[in-house]
């Protein structure tokens, strides 16, 4: 017993300290939902976070929709569970895919995502970095229609425009319109199309090799079910008169939202909120944001040149090649002038000292001669 005490330093308590600090600080997460209207996006968000984020939403009339353009809407909500606070920001894209001509309707979304990166870049390079607000989009849930034959041209265009800028999790909305075989076939088709079009969706990281077999199997099953076929509901119905479940009641049966045999809602919730929230934030920061930053600085250093070297190499190089990229020109000039002054003063001092030394030397010689 004594021996163990002697070896125990105490840094095993570090995770607890980290935990306490994180809990105090709280977490913030920005989630974007995109897709055509009518695919059950709002219902799913309400189901996922058990809040009613869309209470005061006014659905536009059909005539209003004729002239509607894509808008970006942000809604914030603070959720608390078990003492953990999460500040959730939801970014909505009403009007996406609604008009007759949807060409370039994804551009406002791309611009929005880049604006958040730009804001962060500016904050990070600024002088006061204590309270940087992270408004970057950490994850985008893209809703695919269950009625189509896979990804449609608009889906492909949108995904290609944003896949290098945000974590994409593809989701099949209103999945209770599909029979089991149809769901499988649709998922397969979407996966093939994503591969064909070289769209990079968010890759859930592999679980550690020391996890037990059960967990590994569960993890593999969850990965297999991407894109998630989800059904959302905030209503509680009685399942055949027995227990209350959240679901949708039809005349031919009741779809249970939290039943893994009925839909993938549980999988999505587990992966998005319970296990991979932090990973999504990390990937956004380490990979996507750094990529944006490197591209940005690259274009500043060599205006007009846009070669696609590897991201990590660039970030290391740029740190040494471009010392102060963000300071405005006037400040650098001032600094240079100050440095020049200092140099001149130092040179003067040096000359004085040299003169003094020479003087003392000659004096010494004279006294010796005498």
């Amino acid at each position: 017993m004594g021996g163990i005490d002697k070896e125990y330093v105490g840094f095993a308590a570090l995770p607890n300290q980290l935990h306490r600090k994180s809990v105090k600080k709280g977490f913030d997460f920005t989630l974007m939902v995109a897709g055509e209207s009518g695919l059950g996006k709002s219902t799913l968000i309400n189901s996922l976070f058990l809040t009613n984020l869309y209470e005061d939403r006014q659905l536009p009339e059909a005539s209003a929709r004729l002239t509607q353009t894509l808008t970006i809407e942000r809604r914030g909500v603070e959720i608390e569970e078990g003492g953990i606070k999460v500040k959730l920001t939801l970014v909505d894209t009403p009007g996406f895919g609604d008009s007759v001509d949807c060409s370039d309707c994804w551009l406002p979304v791309v611009r929005f995502i880049e604006e958040q990166f730009e804001q962060y870049l500016r904050d990070e390079s600024g002088l006061n970095r204590k309270n940087i607000q992270d408004s970057r989009v950490h994850c985008c849930l893209y809703f695919i229609s269950p009625f189509g034959r896979g990804l449609r041209p608009l889906d492909v265009a949108f995904l290609r425009a944003v896949h290098e800028k945000v974590n994409i999790i593809p989701v099949i909305g209103k999945a209770d319109a599909l029979m089991p075989k149809e769901t499988q076939a649709l998922k397969q088709k979407i996966r093939e199309q994503l591969k064909e079009e070289e769209i990079n969706i968010y890759q859930f990281p592999d679980c550690d090799s020391d996890e037990d077999e059960d967990f590994k199997r569960q993890d593999a099953e969850m990965k297999e079910s991407i894109p998630f076929a989800v059904v959302g509901s905030c209503e509680v119905v009685r399942d055949g008169g027995t227990r209350p479940v959240r679901g949708r009641r039809y005349s031919w049966g009741t779809v249970e939202v939290e039943n893994p045999h009925h839909c993938d809602f549980l999988n999505l919730r587990r992966m998005l909120v319970q296990t991979h929230l932090q990973d999504l934030k990390e990937v956004t920061h380490d990979l996507l944001y750094e990529g944006y930053r490197a591209r940005c600085l690259q274009s500043l250093a060599r205006p007009g040149a846009r070669d696609r070297a590897s991201r990590s190499k660039l970030s290391r190089q740029s740190a040494t090649e471009i010392p102060l990229p963000m300071l405005p020109l006037a400040e650098t000039e001032k600094l240079i002038r100050e440095k020049d002054e200092e140099l001149r003063r130092m040179q003067e001092m040096l000359e004085k000292m040299q003169a003094q030394m020479q003087q003392s030397q000659t004096q010494g010689e004279q006294s010796e001669a005498l």
Binding site: D98, F147, R149, R248, G253
Partner: protein
Amino acid sequence: MDPMRRFPLPPCPSDPQPRTPTLRDAEAEKHCLKMSNTVVVLWLPPGQSGLGKSTMVNTLFKSKMWKSTVQGLGTPTPQTLKLQSVTHVIEEKGVKLKLTVTDTPGFGDQINNDKCWDPILGYISEQYERYLQEEILITRQRHIPDTRVHCCIYFVPPTGHCLRPLDIEFLQRLCRTVNVVPVIARADSLTIEERETFRRRIQHNLRTHCIEVYPQKCFDEDINDRILNSKIRDRIPFAVVGADREHLVNGRCVLGRKTKWGIIEVENLAHCEFPLLRDLLIRSHLQDLKDITHNVHYENYRVCRLNESHLLPRGPGWVNLAQTPAGPLAAPQPSKVHQQAQEDSEDGDEY
């Protein structure tokens, strides 16, 4: 009478009529008895891919009219709209039905769907033109082959909100040239309450944008028609589900979709309104659809075309049509019509 076993009949005098016999029925009787053959109906169901159009046609006619592609294994979205027609002759009780179904794959699937309705409207006008050309011949056939579109089923996706701009644009143009019956497709994703809300909103949208769908109010002939049609108009658009597989439910074999939480029976009114659609299109209003196409839509087209070709003598009988038919009329060579008309007028024939 087991409605699921027998092929749906066109209105026949022996069956109990939903309304008192009118002159139209008498004509139908004559039609049925005399000709007892080809009754041609053309359907043109537009709508995005995956809304169950082909399955619906199969369900309606209980025969594999169309090889419905299993979802996920279909060909990629075709870039251009190509209209594909399939004609079948189905027979029941001595009455032959020559049905032509035209599909519009790829409609509304592109990023820019502007003017995607042009090929469809062009096709409809083309059929009218063909009929017109036959009709104005000097020696014309006894039974002009009727390839005109009698009814257009428009599939509205079940968003649950309201009509989309694309739907409104298309319906506005379509309802002026052909009988349109909108339906809510894939309605098994909406609960009963959601369906009602959606239906009311769609009806409101149709009224706001002055879209007259079949059965049109202005063509109700008498009070009985109006009562009957009002009931139908209240339920339009029907929320339909299509299926071409049979399942065993309570010992019966029914057409339906089997999910993990239940089986949706297509012919069960508590589940979906497919029987209403079938009754409207086939059992009660088939002949009416043809009549309105012939007496109203085709006549409108004809007057427009003849006005354009200046064949009507200018005079008190001159018809001034304020509205021009929307969409580019498939402009077949007016010279051809003109030429024939000239020959006719030379022969002393007048229209």
